[in-house]
Amino acid sequence: MNKEQVFEVITRHVCEVIPKLEEYQFKFDDSMRDLGANSIDRSEIIMMTLESLSLNIPLIEIARAENMGELASILHEKL
């Protein structure tokens, strides 16, 4: 799985949690917070993504991600 595919997994879960973003064209520098995801939404999206990727890692390791692209990079490195 490459970084783009990890990014797609993230965006799929963002849409599940915030259905109004279904038509939205996601970019690497999008921030989930700016797209309307509150802290509960963000933790839910991250957990769903980790489950989809079967990645059991401490959440602290992904806390430094500034945007969705960085999140995809960090997760991709852990695969």
């Binding site: 949690v17 259905p19 509960i40 939404d41 769903m48 980790l50 059991n56």
Partner: protein
């Protein structure tokens, strides 16, 4: 309830979701026709399925509990889809049912700080919990963060207050199978005391998993051994051949306020809440108490300033329980109200447990409005032939004063009198 105040309390809105229909009009026409949806239950988590385990011993443990499930839940567009993803089935039904009552009573025109919500029931999301535990049994680190919110019954209060903007108060209250009526009684008191102007009482959908079904069967409370292969015949309150209650999914919402305080236009008032009674038996067990039932009926009649002969319709608790039904008929006899027309809503929709008290108040209100009484399914051989049963067909009757009872495990007794306006 103070007699000077009681005449002013009315029901100004209702919402109902059940196995025979969603919304008051669908519910009422199905009720009057005696339609039903009893079958072997199919909702995931309602039956123990041996295929879940590879142990051969488990093959003998498969279950086929009977009940009446809601066929299709339709969610109003006004409820945000993002919220529904993490809302339990009980919560989704609560939102849809409250939406009906909210619009019925036009509550968008009431100061949200003067509206309260009481959700009757406790531990009502059991099937969701079992489903989650099963799904994450071997994936514990991936349990969704929102599980920490949704496992609580009070999540319904959070969801409902967010969606509808309720700012007064919202809490859950448990009274076992009397929860719906206890919520209504508490709502009456909240309006009477001036805590809020409008109080919404909900009987929440109790979402049983196969664990609770098995427990109720083991206790001898839930039927049906006699009608295991004939689900349509299993729910038979007050019939000589009854063998326990049959579960039914439902949720009921009742809006209570003072008629004199309503300034909104075009509000249909359903009935006056003329009196109520609640009392405990001092008994943790499920068995009923004749004294306890008689007490609450008499309290409700006294508060209503009614004599026994004034009651012309009874909507009893009537579950199909062997001792429960017998005790209830004795209480009706002792209170001198056995002349009144009587039917059993649970013969049509099953036993909603936490929801039952509220849904049966709505069934009473709908019959009052329709000028008709619904049939009692499967009442072929009534335990007391001298009672004024509505049996296989609905009848025309304009209710003046109705008496409605609920009983719950742990010695809970409630009774409410409703007066036609």
């Amino acid at each position: 309830m103070k007699s000077s105040e009681q005449s002013k309390l009315v029901v100004s809105g209702v919402g109902v979701t059940s196995s025979i229909g969603q919304g008051k009009s669908e519910f009422t026409s199905a009720l009057l026709e005696g339609k039903h949806n009893f079958s072997v239950m199919k909702r995931p988590g309602r039956q123990y399925s041996p295929s879940q385990k590879d142990n051969v011993d488990n093959l003998q443990q498969s279950t086929s509990f009977l009940g009446a499930e809601i066929p299709d839940l339709s969610m109003p567009d006004s409820i945000p889809k993002g919220l529904l993803r993490t809302a339990s089935f009980s919560a989704q039904v609560a939102l849809a049912t409250l939406d009906e009552a909210w619009n019925d009573a036009k509550l968008h025109d009431v100061d949200p700080k003067r509206i309260g919500l009481i959700v009757g029931g406790s531990n009502f999301q059991q099937r969701e919990l079992v489903q989650t535990h099963q799904a994450y049994q071997n994936r514990l680190p991936f349990v969704r963060p929102t599980y920490a919110m949704s496992f609580m019954d009070s999540d319904l209060c959070g969801l409902c207050s967010e969606v509808f903007g309720i700012r007064g108060f919202a809490y859950t209250l448990g009274g076992a199978s009397a929860s719906g009526q206890v919520a209504i009684i508490q709502a009456i008191q909240a309006v009477e005391s001036g805590q809020v102007d409008v109080c919404i009482a909900m009987g929440a959908l109790m979402d049983l998993s196969y664990w609770e079904c098995q427990g109720f069967r083991a206790l001898g409370a839930m039927g049906s051994d006699k009608y295991a292969t004939e689900p349509a015949l299993a729910a038979r309150p007050f019939d000589q051949n009854r063998d326990g209650f049959i579960y039914g999914e439902s949720c009921g919402v009742v809006v209570i306020e003072r008629s004199s305080a309503i300034s909104r236009k075009d509000i249909m008032l359903y009935a006056r809440l003329s009196g109520c009674g609640m009392g405990m038996d001092g008994n943790r067990n499920p068995n009923p108490s004749l004294d306890g039932e008689v007490d609450v009926i008499e309290t409700a009649l006294n508060q209503s300033n009614l004599r026994a002969k004034d009651i012309d319709y009874i909507n009893p608790h009537g579950t199909g329980s062997l001792i429960g039904d017998e005790t209830e008929l004795k209480a009706i006899n002792l209170c001198g109200v056995s002349h009144a027309h009587i039917n059993a809503t649970k013969s049509i929709i099953g036993h909603g447990l936490s929801a039952a008290g509220a849904v049966e108040i709505i069934a009473t209100l709908m019959q009052m409005k329709a000028g008709k009484l619904h049939p009692t399914r499967n009442l072929h051989d009534p335990m007391e032939s001298s009672f004024n049963w509505v049996q296989s067909e609905s009848i025309t009757h304009k209710i003046k004063n109705a008496l409605n009872m609920s009983m719950g495990f742990g010695g809970v007794n409630t009774a409410i009198c409703l007066q036609n306006l």
